[in-house]
Structures are given as C-alpha cells and as structure tokens.
Symmetry: C2
Subunit: 383 residues, 2 copies
C-alpha cells in the first residue's frame, strides 16, 4: 500500500492535478526558454512546432526574429545583453504568449510580461539575497479627503518587529498606469532596500508606497471593482487631488508605524506622474520633507497637460526653499521625453538660486533608470 | 506646448512605452476573451487569426475545442458553468498561452494560469468587497530548528493596527507544490476572511500562512535561490521536519503579534500535505490547539509514502484526545484520491472513541473544496 499511495500523492502533487487541468506544456521536463550566458549573450529556445513565425519582445532590438529548427524549437543568440531586469514575451503568429519555462511574471498596468534578471552591476541589487529581510505589508488606510478606504504597500526594515526603535520614512510614488504594487514589484524596491540596508549603504527606513490614483482605492483585483481589465486612463488622477489628500497618508503612517518625527526623518520621491506628485506635495507641505526625489518627473503636470510654472506654484516653491530641504534631487535620462520639461524646470530653479542635486543618466523613461535612481536617492537620505 | 506634452504623456503612459516594448496585442482596444453571462454560460472569443487549432483548458470538460470564425476569433459557448474561481489557459497549436485580455494570473507550483470568478454561491466569498480589509504581510522569522530565516504570510484582521486588542490565531498550511503564497493567492483566504469577519460569520482572527517546505526558505523568487523554475519535488518536505520545527513559528507569532493566549485561541488547519502537517503538529503539541482542521489530509504521510497509523502516532493521538480539542474537523471530497486513506483514519478514530466532525463534499482534491472547507472551518472556531 505504501508504494501505491506514495505514487498517488506524487501524481496528485503535480500542478496539473492541483489545477484540475491537463496542461500539455507542463508534462514535458522543464527547459528554460532563455538562458543568460557568462559571455553576456542570451540563448533563446522556445518550443512551438506548429508556429509559422515567432518573435521575442523586450530586449534590444525590441522585436527579435527567432529561427525555427527541425526539433520545433525557435531560437536566437542575443549578444551584448547588459545586466538588468528585463520583461519579455513571445509573439507567436501575432499572439502574445508568456513563457511556460518561466513562472516569474510582472504586470505594468494591463501588460503582463515574463521577468528575467541578467546579473551584474546594479541588477545585483534587484535580486533577493541571503540578507536580513524587511516586512512587506498591504495595509488599508482611511482617507477622509478622498472619502475612501485605500490600499498601500509598506516596507518595514529587517528587525522592525522586535527592535522597538523608531525609523525614518520614505514615501515612494508610482507613475501613470501604476498603483501601490508598482514599486514593490516592477521597481524591485523591496530587494533594493533590503540589499542597501544590509550593506550599510542606506539607513534602515520605512518605505510607504501608496496608490497615487485618486479615483481608485487599490490595485486591480484588490478593490470591489472586481477583476476588471485595467485600461490606461489618466482621469484616475485628477489635478492635485491625490497631492492635496496626501496628509491622510502621512497621518496614518505616523499613527500606525514607529516613525521618527520631523522633517529630517521624512523623504518623498516618485517617478513620472509620481515625480509630479512629489514635486507638488513637497511644496504643499514645505515643513514635511528634508529629502525630495523627482525621477523623470512630470513637474508642472496639471492632470491634463503641462503648463509653465504657475504663479501660485512659484510662490509655493519660494516658500519651500525659504527653509530648503537638505536634498532636492532631480534625475532624468537623456532620451526621456520629459527631458526638455525638466531642463526648463532646472532653469527655473537656477534663475531663483534654489539648490538641487541633478543626475543625468543614459536612457529614457524606463524602470531601469527608476531603479537606479532609487538606489542613488535612498543611499543619500537620513544621513 | 500644452497639447504636445499632454499627448506625449499619454503616449508615455501606455504600458507598451513603460515596458520599453511594442506589444502588438495591447494596441488593440481591450476585448475580454471570456465573458460570464447571467444564464450560467461563458462566452469565449480569443483572437488568433493564424492559428490552426485553439483549445481552452480549465473548465468542464477540461479541453474545450474552440471554433474559428472569419474574423480570426476562436469561440465557444460553455453552458452550465457553476459559480467558482476558475483557472484557465489557451493552447494554441500545442503552445500554452495566457489570455492577453485578462491580467489576473495565479501560480500553482510551476503552473501559471489566468483567473476568472463566476459569481454566486461560495464564489461570492472569493471576491474583494467594500468591507473593512485586513492587512496582509510577508514577514521573515528565524527558525532555530531549521537553521534558516524563513518567510510567512500573515493576515491581521481589519482594525488590528488601531484596536490594541489581542486576537486568536489560525495557522493555515498549504499542500505539496505550494508555499507561503498558496492560501492567500490561490486559496482566496484574504477575501474569505475579510468577508466572513465583516458579515459576522467568523471572529476577527490572525491567520498565519507559513512555508511548509522544510528545505526552502520562501516562495520562488523570494529566496536567494534566484528566479528558478519551481519543480515539484517532495524532498523539500522531509519526514516530520517541518512539523517538529513548528514551535519556532508559534513562538515568533506570539512574540510579534498581539495574540490571545491559550489553547482556546489557537487553531491549525491545512490541505493535503498541510492536512498531514496539521494532523502531526496537533498531536505533537496536544495543549496548543483547540481547533484542528484536516482538509483532504495526507494523514499518516511520512514523507515518502503512507503508513498505517504507527504505534508512536497512536500514542500521541491518545495523548491529544485525553484532553481533546473542541473541534477536530475532517473534510474531504468523495472523488479525492485520499478518500480511502481518510476513511481508514476515521475508522481508527471511531474505534478509539475519539470525537471529530466530518464533512464530506462532492468533488476531489481541489481548491474549490479547500476554499469551501476554509469557509466552514473558520466559521466554527473561537466561538
């Protein structure tokens, strides 16, 4: 009886059985579809014997034509692949297909893609290492200003549960199409913070990643809107609505977590739309943040378009810089479509004599840059 | 300038831009591939104009042949679809493909599938509603017995952060192929607990969902093993290793969270392998749990096969029932491959006069049953 039941248990334990489904691809021995080689090439091999055409998207160039072999595998060698976190998918005869040889999937708004990390450089900060790990929580808070209960992601550093200590707080804001899961998932913020703190490059800190879409309560699937398809829609971020409701977040966090009080222990940063949020919130709350990070920021974004700095904003910024933050950090890529906008804004700051740090990188409006900016910014704050 | 930059921002905000990729499927207006109709049918329509054959897997029957229309859509009407959470995928010319019209994805070991909920019945408990929400945390604890830092999922009920109260604890264990994410994701445990508690059917409780694979520290991607392909491997659960290390979990939880002390405020339940863990842990710690739930349990599973109840186990169970738990709950489906094993075990309990509650359902070794068992079990504990 032993042997029969042991076999039954092992069969039952196959995922196909658990799922109640007979998946044909899963019964084959596993074969990685993409392998990163030590010589900076990727070897691609994807099994699709009946396909007429298979391409790979997500690397450089963005559409890579695969070649069909006699064994039904479509393959390519991709040379010179830089260390990074890549998101990719296959396109089989016009149909986007995820990689059945890879269970790691990331979502960006309504786009789901497989994930692969090519090790080296900053990409080594994106991987989970054998270091003390912080806690990641999905927490609901009440926002009286928005009239909603809303979801946020909160990172508390390793040791938070038992240390009894207070910690400084970084508020980290996502861009359009994102939500409270963007920085922790696509942005690798959890791994980056764990690794920076463990290596002594960043201070232990709480990182709060709220949902910046004022009309939403939570990421898709986690609100009572059901399992809807998240369309890109900028009306979910009406002008200044999230920014003006931000004190609800700060109040909740300071009431709920052991936060070090004061401007010197508070930072705010965000990417793209979240860079615009950071820009506006930090001027609306001039005594709140000693560290301000604007990553590829939509500075001046008014919800429907971009204006010159308004008289009202200019006054708020003047007020903010009367008692300036210790660090007002602007980062952008040379190919970013917001480059000129940020250049104009830097001109404004220069003309007023307001001090800021500026980091210009290669590349454009990408998570590669935003992860790097987080590493740079988080390493400079609370010191 | 306004208009041009507004357009640029909207373009940038499309997920294709953010991903740094031109995804061909995403540029079309969104069209749901599967629509649940009020008459209990599903309407399926999947765009794959070049495909020679498209099937759908995950419903009944498990392989549904779709018919190609002139417009390149492959379609079917599926009648009589019962309310439930379904996981499905398409198979296009032999290649498993996820549904680009659906961003909701669940993983079961190494099988990734799309998710759809057909409303009604118990399935209404699986959806996020406009009720107070608990917090879901990924927390690392140290296990001296296993010599590892390990990850767990912890649900604290709505109000935990501000109530100052103590709460009873349910330890909820996954099956083979699962990990600390199984119950919260596939098992809908977060939604089920939120909804049960909000409707007064369950007491507010903490739910602890640890990783039951003694040789692992965390779910795939969250340990320093990197982004490996999770193969099914029962050696990650060596005989009694997790069970004997369980006090490390309980000690950590009681030190870290505001738990109500005592047997009357502790419950343990698990499915399949986790049902076996529950069975063994509850006898190893006879004073710990007043509520024991064995869902499709691998009772007697010894890591390599299934034995008759050993003399040692019989003594431990005798000891456990000397001061019996208030509820010793066994649930199993009539088609479950572990049905006979559980029948044998019930015979053993009957022969000794040990009292238990028994719930026999339709169906087999499925998440549908385990979600239902959680609803039934959680509604009966701490009362």
């Amino acid at each position: 009886m032993n042997k029969i039941l042991a076999t039954a248990l092992c069969l039952a334990a196959s995922s196909a059985f658990f799922a109640g489904a007979q998946e044909i691809n899963w019964s084959r021995p596993h074969k990685q579809s993409i392998v990163a080689n030590p010589d900076s090439t990727l070897t691609v091999s994807f099994f699709a014997p009946e396909a007429k055409n298979v391409t790979l998207t997500g690397f450089t160039p963005n559409q890579i034509q695969l070649s069909k072999g006699d064994d039904g595998n479509w393959s390519a060698e991709i040379p010179g692949v830089k260390p990074d976190l890549y998101t990719y998918s296959f396109i089989i005869d016009g149909v986007k297909t995820l990689d059945s040889g890879n269970t790691y999937i990331l979502r960006d708004c309504n786009n789901v893609m497989n994930e692969i990390i090519v090790a080296g450089g900053n990409a080594d900060m994106y991987v989970t290492k054998d270091v003390p790990h912080g806690t990641v929580s999905k927490v609901w808070y009440n926002s009286p200003a928005l009239g909603k209960n809303r979801r946020m992601t909160v990172y508390t550093p390793a040791g938070y549960e038992s240390s009894g200590q207070q910690y400084p707080v970084l508020y980290l804001l996502h861009g359009m199409g994102g939500d409270e899961e963007a920085w922790s998932d696509l942005g690798s913020a959890v791994q980056i913070l764990d690794n920076l703190i463990a290596s002594g490059k960043a201070e232990p800190m709480i990182v709060v990643m709220p949902n910046g879409n004022a009309e939403k309560t939570a990421a898709p699937g986690f609100s009572d809107e059901g399992l809807y398809f998240p369309e890109f829609d900028h009306s979910i971020s009406e002008k200044d609505k999230f920014e003006k409701a931000f004190p609800d977040i700060k109040n909740f966090v300071e009431k709920t977590f052991r936060t070090k009080p004061g401007k010197g222990n508070s930072a705010i940063a965000g990417l793209s739309m979240g860079g615009g949020h950071t820009w506006k919130i930090s001027m609306l709350m001039p005594d709140a943040f000693d560290y301000v990070g604007i990553f590829s920021g939509a500075v001046g974004w008014n919800g429907h378009g971009v204006d010159e700095i308004s008289e009202n904003d200019a006054m708020l910024i003047q007020n903010q810089f009367a008692n300036p933050p210790k660090l007002y950090w602007i980062g952008i890529g040379r190919d970013d479509f917001l480059y000129e906008l940020n250049k104009g804004y830097r001109g404004f700051l220069d003309s007023k004599g307001y001090k800021y740090d500026y980091h210009e990188s290669a590349g454009g409006h990408t998570w590669t840059n935003w992860r790097d900016y987080l590493i740079l910014f988080a390493s400079q704050i609370f010191k």
